[in-house]
């Protein structure tokens, strides 16, 4: 018996399919009936807030580190702000008296970025829509 060459692929294709109980679907539907209808997964508010705080931290960190190495503030931001301040000289002479140390400029910039991000996050969390 069975001395002929075995066609394993042919046999595999003929494997019988195991079947479920006849009342399988009825049981399943009765257990599903108590479940809420499937809803798309939404990110929870704490996750969004944590992600934003992380993002803000990363941005601030990246800014401070790159500023330490490349001096972005001194190179670009300070002159830009000085120009803006200078443009006000004619209108508001008293502004020209203000001496702006770099740390204040950095603080203002970081503060402005944080305010914008905070506004975006609040808008997203409250309305669920992007700006």
């Amino acid at each position: 018996m069975m001395n002929t060459k075995i066609d394993i692929e042919g046999l595999l294709k003929q494997l019988p399919i195991e079947k479920t109980d006849s009342n399988f679907t009825a049981q399943l539907i009765s257990s599903i009936a108590s479940l809420p209808a499937p809803q798309p997964k939404q990110l929870s508010k704490p996750i969004i807030i944590c992600a934003c705080i992380g993002l803000i931290g990363l941005m601030v960190g990246a800014w401070l580190i790159s500023d330490y190495f490349f001096g972005w503030t001194e190179l670009y931001v300070q002159p830009l702000l000085s120009n803006i301040v200078a443009s006000f000289k004619g209108i508001l002479p008293r502004i020209s008296q203000i001496e702006c140390p770099p740390i204040i400029i950095e603080g203002l910039l970081v503060g402005a970025v944080l305010l914008v991000i905070d506004a975006v996050v609040r808008h997203k969390v409250v309305t669920g829509k992007p700006l």
């Binding site: 394993i8 195991e18 399988f24 599903i32 209808a37």
Partner: protein, 179 residues
């Protein structure tokens, strides 16, 4: 079931129609059960897991983006559920083999006897190997789909399928030589 019909049924389920889900279940339950049973090898447990699979499918249906075929997505959930259940219970595959529908070889045709031997041989395979064989030959899934379901690479699926075929052939030949 055609992909378009399936898509419409899925939309109906998402709108809260459980009878549409019953149709989806009816279309796929035996194939899912067959896969889970080949991995688990215990009828009662496989039935229970199959129920879990369809409950997961129902709960996650909104996440199905129609990037793959519905059956591929369903089989992936079924395969992962079966493998996780096995790992959780830390049962050895060989300790839970259940003699289910194996029929005696006496008074049978040669082909039936060979299929019976093949089923016994499949029961000796690892869970992954049994799943690969079921997906490839019973479900007639493509290599790409099997790779998606099992999380293996396409090359790995091909190699493993070849090895499993050789292994099955060896087991069957050993059994027939004994007889």
């Amino acid at each position: 079931m055609k992909a378009q019909g399936e898509k419409e049924l899925i939309q109906q389920v998402l709108q809260g129609d459980t009878s549409a889900f019953a149709l989806l279940v009816d279309a796929h339950k035996d194939r899912v059960f067959n896969l889970v049973f080949r991995v688990i090898r215990q009828r009662a447990w496989a039935e229970e897991l199959c129920q879990d699979v369809f409950i997961k499918v129902y709960q996650q249906l909104a996440q199905f983006k129609h990037k793959a075929r519905f059956s591929t997505w369903l089989f992936r959930i079924a395969y992962n559920t079966a493998i996780s259940a096995l790992r959780k219970h830390q049962l050895s595959v060989h300790s839970i083999n259940e003699s289910h529908s194996y029929v005696e070889e006496d008074n049978q045709g040669e082909k039936e006897a060979l299929i019976s031997l093949l089923e016994k041989a499949i029961a000796q395979l690892s869970t992954e190997e049994a799943a690969l064989i079921t997906l490839c030959y019973t479900e007639e899934k493509t290599i790409e789909e099997i790779a998606q379901i099992t999380g293996l690479s396409k090359a790995n699926v091909k190699v493993k399928l070849h090895r499993v075929r050789v292994k099955l052939k060896m087991i069957i030949e050993r059994s027939t030589n004994k007889n």
